[in-house]
Structure formats: structure tokens, C-alpha cells
Subunit: 420 residues, 2 copies
């Protein structure tokens, strides 16, 4: 029987493992509950009407169509029968494995306040992004027709909770949308007066960057017109707005960029996990006591970055996927020597609006317009396929030159008027 | 007081009227229940995963951003108070007018069988198109995992009801998707064996074309692998499939392209209407007894094409919008001479898959690859803005050369597994 590798999740980690196993004498099955791989680092640009959905997503089965040994299944996993080495699917189906790679990622988390989610959506899927785009654009539309001044102010107040890269990128993009792209289009409101408020519980934004890059980003965001509130944990989110510190802020659009929680993979496999639900894995990324199960990416936690935890970013998931493929190939060749994973950090990147970014390569630090170009080129480079690189480059160039955003579409959900 | 023109509906007719009134000393308000103008002639390409949503839609307020006298409102109209010359909105708001242009288009219609809609969606909005794309792609996904042969056959049977241009274009595009683009991507099913069945109640497809173009299109569709059933009115649509003539066909995807019904505009204004709900208008496109109200496009019916009814196509709506703008401008100048609308027919176009189309310019008839190129260039020409022309041209070129469709995204609605 050919060795069967089952990869659950076609994110950066799962795809890297799949690519790494090309040419091996195995069968491989990819299971994902969506039919597309998503380039999450640019998801905030779909949420803020810069890019369209198809520019950052690829049908999984198309990506592996030339690998005849690879089968793609659309399905939701609900558990693992470790005794029988079988993955359980929501529709009652099962898929048996010889080796299992769990790469199911993370969702945003509300620190025990899941009741905030309807009022403060996070950004992890294409549906999240179109929902956020819809809320932002509808809020301007409603403000245009609102006659009550305080209700109008609430409609024109956009709150982003969480000062990490996603929060910073969302805040910068919304500020540009409101202050630069939309003013011409409205008659009764001045979108330049919209407030974009970034709330961070800690003492500074971008805590994974150095102090000076963090301070630069802070100043660059303020130049874009973003209000930043530090040291202010949010204590409530509702349809009326947010409460943070001892302040109440009326706001109709709240976006959540404050925390993540791993998928349920650790629970399926009954593995020890940390507070965020991430499985604690062995040095070679296998589940404790189960060398046939690997857990990688945002679903796992491991101190493999010079003794520190590996960060939850795309390059880390990719490196883990590549590592897992190497271990599996070595085993197929009868080599079972221990192969601990070591994370190589290539840098932290975050962009702040149209012409500023911060990059920390460790020894080299770049900020401003040069960092912005490096950021843009790096992201185009890491997109999959020539076609999407062209499409994204065209979209960016267009917005850069003309200032007009083509992706300002309100779709999905109830008709506009019913959402009021 | 500046004369206030209210245009309800930002389709081809409403936008043409708005553009035609540029430079006049008026105020103008556009009301639409969506925030975007949609290029409906290419909507079937979104439904069949060729184009993405943002490539054929434009935010309305962006299109008129430079016209400071134009206000755009997102809102659903529920009625007209003709006494007080006021448009009533669903949220209780009102907008008063001096002149009203009703250009609210049409929806698909089920000839008194609205209960078929859940099983046989039609194609009029971006949401319709993403729903159809979702159903088509999910059906292949489900077939890939289906072990029962007859259920698998039903999942791989795609029925299109209605042999007009939309039905022909959908059938051709689905046949190409199944027979040319997808085969590489599946392991358990042969998508080339998918059945694409076009059912037409009348004696031939494309009845608005000449007999020989219709016969050519018939043969071209069959070459693509489409089964065509003529003279077969559909008598039932359900979750199991369709019944047409005396035949029962098990099919999990049914698409409706058989009929349209005008929006409720005639009812709002209490106007006489035909069977399809289209308002019967005066020769100058005004409502009988109400010279201050114009009704145009798919919402109206008028025998202004050498005594025949004006067809429900984009160029007709545009010509009517331009005509209305001329009448309004003349009136503002004190010229109230009667100005009957006359429709100039420039031709009928329909495309059949990747390299064939039929065009009837009246005296000149073109078919085959040349017609396909004319069709493609004409549609790119009529798209709004350089950016979308570039984007659509890039998408088409890419598919033409590589055969890979980037827009194969399943989004919206319940997670994949719940749809089973």
C-alpha cells in the first residue's frame, strides 16, 4: 500500500508540506473546509476595498492539479480517530491516514467575550473581509442620509481594537479611504471628518517591532489622521460602540484585531495545548506520543526560535510545512533520526497607508517610502502565480496613481436598506 | 428653486439619463438599492467563474463624483406619492422631485411558479452570480466525494432553462468549464462526463436571431457538448431536478434564464402595465397623465422600434435614458414640443463559449471566431473606465491562453459541508 499523507488545511503550512512532498512515492489528500487557499497578509486590503476577493485567493485543487497523486477534498473535519488513524468529517465521511499533518490555522478570539463578535468582526476569511468592507461602506452610506448629528458622528467613527500589524494596517487603510479616496463622492457629509480610532491595551503599537520602529509607525498613523489610544483594554463592544479604560466611544463600526485562538485541532487529537488552544508539539513538530501526527502553523506552539515561541506568521507556517515534508521523506527512506525544527526569522513587516511601512530585518531596519516599496514588492513576489501578481500590481498601481478604489462593492447579506 | 430630477435605478438607462443631463442647471438625485452599477451583459461570466465581481461593477457615487449637483442615495424605493411628487423609501424617508425617471429594471420571473426560485436561481445581480457560481462549483465538489452513481450523475447534470442569449451563454460557459477547465483538477470524477442540458420551450434557441444564426448557434453549442431540448416547456423544478415535456431529469443545479418580470415601478405609480409588469408609456416615454414621470428600460414597454416593442437590452435602455435627458433639457428651455422616442437597433449579439459567437447587425451577419472577437472587443469597449477594461482583457487573455480560471471561488452562504 502506498503511504497516505493527509494534510488538513491548505493555508501556508499545509501547502508548503504538500509542495515539499512532490516527487515522493506517496498518496496525499488535502482536506479544507473552503475551496481556496487565501493569502491572508493582504486580506485587510479586501476588507478596505483595495483588492477584490479573487486577487488573493486560489482554488486549492487548481494549485495541485498537476500532482496526480494529490486528491483535494472540500470538507469540514470534526475529529480524529487516532486508534484507527482516521479523520472524521462533518458529513459522516472518514479519511484514513498513515501520516497526518494538522495545519488548520486560527480564528480571531475575544478573550472569553465571544458575545462581542457580532459587533466587532475579525479578519481571517474572505467572508470576514467582505463583511468588514460592507460594514465600512454602509456606514458612510447611512451617515450620508442621517440627519441627527450624534448618530452621524457614531456612523463616522471607526474603531480598530488591537495595535498589531493587522490593526495598524486596517487603521491606515480606513483613514486613507475616508480622508483621501471618498471625500469627492459624498454631498452631505465630509468623509475627511471621519474618526479612525486605534485602541491598544499595551503600552505601544506594533509590540513585536523595536521601540523606534513602533514610534515611527505611531507618528505615521497619526499623520494619516488615526487617533491612537494606548494602555486601554476594551471592556465592552456593543451595537452602540466600545468601552475602553474609563471611556465610552459611540461607534457603528468596530473591527477586532486583538487576538487569535487556534483551531480545534488540538482538541480533536486530545493534545496538550496552551491558553490560546495551540497544541504543544515535540521538537520535530509531532504530537506527543504520536509520531505519525504533525501539528504546524498557528495551530501549534513551539519554542523553536532560539528558545522563544515561533511567531504566528506566514513564513513560520511555511518553514514548518517544509520541515514536515523533509521528516516524512526521510522516514520513507528509513531514516528516523530526530530532526528538530528550527525557525529562521527573516523579519517583521507592517505597512501604514500608502507610502509608509516599517520593516525589521534584525540587523537592518527600514521605514518610510523605501520600506513601503519593499513591502509591496515582497508581497507581490509571494503571491502565487503570474496572473495574480499582475492583477494585484495593476490594482495597486491604479489606486496609487488615480486614488480611485474599484473594489468599493457592498455585496452579501441583506439588502442595504434592511441593514439600517 | 433649482429643478430637481430624481433618477431611481443606476442601470444603463438611469446612468444614461444622468450623463445626458450633465451641464444642465438642475439638481439630480440617483437612488438605487445597491451601491454599484452592474454591467449585466457579462454577469454570466461571474456566474461561471470567468470574471470576478469587481470587474463588472462600479460604485455609483464614484461614477458621478465630479458632478457636484448629483447626490447618490443608497435606499430601496417602496412607492411614489404622485400628489406630493415624492418618492417613498423603505426606511421611512422621502425624496421630493420635480421630474422623476423610473429606471428600475427587471428580475427573472417564473411564470407564476415563484416556488421554483430556490431550486432554479436566475441571474440579475452580483449576489445571483456568486450564488450560481457557488452552486456550480459545489456540485462538482460534492460529486467528487459521492459514491452512489445515480446521485453523482445528478450532481454532474447542469440544467439551463431558457434558450435566449443568457441561457446560451451560460450553457456554453458551463460546458467549457466542465469539459476544458476542470478535468485536470478532479481525481474521482471525470468532469468531461458532466451533462449540460439546455431546455427551451420554443422551436429554436436564440429566437431573436435569424433562423440560420440560430441553427449555427445550436450546432456550435452541441459541438461544445451541450444537449439541447427544444419545444419542451418546464413543468416543475425541485431539489431533485426538472420535469419538462414528459421527461424527468435528475439534476442538482438548475439555472433559470427563461423570463423576466419588470420591477414594481408601474405598481408604485399606479400605471397601466403589460403581463410582465412593464409600464405602458406615452411615445415620449412619460407615464400616461404624468408628463413629469418617465419610465424607461426593462421597466417600460413601448412599440417604438418601427411599431414593434423595444427589446429589453442594454442599448435600448441607454437610448431611452439619453432621450429622456433631451426631453428634460428641452423643457427647461421652455420647449415642450412632443418628442417621440424612436429605437435604433444596432444588432443582436450572443457568444457561445470560447471561440464562437453570432452577431446580427441586420444587413450584416457574422458568426464563428470573427464574431467572437467582435463580441469581446465590443464588450470591453462598453465597460466603464480604463481600469476595468484592462482587468477584463487580462482575465480573458489569461483564460484564453492558460485555460485556468482564477475566479473559481466558493464564497457566501453556509460553510461548504453544511450545504450538502
Amino acid at each position: 500500500m502506498t503511504h497516505h499523507v493527509v494534510v488538513v488545511g491548505a493555508g501556508f503550512g499545509g501547502l508548503a508540506a504538500t509542495h515539499g512532498l512532490a516527487g515522493s512515492d506517496i498518496k496525499l489528500t488535502i482536506i479544507d473546509q473552503r475551496n481556496h487557499h487565501l493569502f491572508q497578509p493582504l486580506l485587510y486590503q479586501v476588507g478596505t476595498a483595495t483588492l477584490s476577493t479573487s486577487e488573493i485567493a486560489w482554488p486549492i485543487r487548481h494549485l495541485v492539479r498537476k500532482r496526480k497523486e494529490v486528491t483535494t477534498l472540500l470538507g469540514a473535519v470534526t475529529g480524529i480517530d487516532m486508534q484507527n488513524r482516521s479523520v472524521l468529517l462533518e458529513d459522516g465521511g472518514t479519511v484514513s491516514y498513515d501520516t497526518l499533518v494538522l495545519a488548520t490555522g486560527a480564528r480571531h478570539a475575544y478573550f472569553g467575550h465571544d458575545e462581542w463578535e457580532p459587533y466587532a468582526p475579525g479578519l481571517k476569511t474572505l467572508e470576514d473581509a467582505t463583511l468588514i468592507r460592507r460594514r465600512i461602506l454602509l456606514s458612510f452610506e447611512r451617515a450620508e442620509r442621517e440627519t441627527d448629528a450624534s448618530r452621524r458622528d457614531a456612523l463616522l467613527t471607526f474603531v480598530i481594537v488591537g495595535g498589531g500589524p493587522t490593526g495598524v494596517e486596517l487603521a491606515g487603510a480606513i483613514a486613507e479611504l475616508a480622508h483621501h479616496n471618498l471625500p469627492d463622492e459624498y454631498r452631505h457629509i465630509d468623509t475627511r471628518r471621519a474618526r479612525v480610532v486605534l485602541i491598544e491595551a499595551g503600552p505601544r503599537i506594533l509590540p513585536s517591532f523595536t521601540d523606534d520602529l513602533s514610534a515611527y509607525a505611531h507618528a505615521a498613523l497619526e499623520r494619516l489622521g488615526v487617533e491612537i489610544h494606548l494602555g486601554s483594554p476594551v471592556s465592552n463592544c456593543s451595537a452602540e460602540g466600545v468601552i475602553y479604560g474609563d471611556r465610552v466611544l459611540a461607534a457603528k463600526v468596530i473591527l477586532w484585531a486583538a487576538g487569535v485562538r487556534a483551531s480545534s485541532a488540538a482538541a480533536w487529537a486530545g493534545l496538550p495545548a496552551d491558553n490560546a488552544g495551540r497544541a504543544r508539539v515535540e521538537p520535530d513538530l509531532t504530537a506527543p506520543g504520536h509520531p505519525e501526527i504533525f501539528v504546524i502553523g498557528d495551530t501549534a506552539t513551539i519554542n523553536a526560535w532560539n528558545g522563544k515561541p515561533v511567531p504566528g506568521i506566514a513564513p513560520a507556517a511555511k518553514q514548518q510545512g517544509i520541515h514536515v515534508a523533509r521528516v516524512i521523506k526521510a522516514r520513507l527512506n528509513g531514516d528516523t533520526a530526530p530532526r528538530p525544527f528550527r525557525y529562521q526569522h527573516s523579519g517583521n513587516l507592517a505597512t501604514i497607508g500608502k507610502r509608509a511601512a516599517v520593516i525589521d530585518f534584525g540587523t537592518v531596519k527600514v521605514r518610510g517610502w523605501l520600506a513601503w516599496w519593499v513591502w509591496g514588492l515582497a508581497h507581490i513576489y509571494f503571491l502565487i502565480g503570474v496572473r495574480n501578481r499582475l492583477a494585484v500590481a495593476l490594482s495597486w498601481l491604479w489606486i496609487y496613481v488615480s486614488g480611485s478604489r474599484n473594489a468599493c462593492l457592498i455585496t452579501q447579506g441583506e439588502p442595504a436598506s434592511k441593514a439600517r
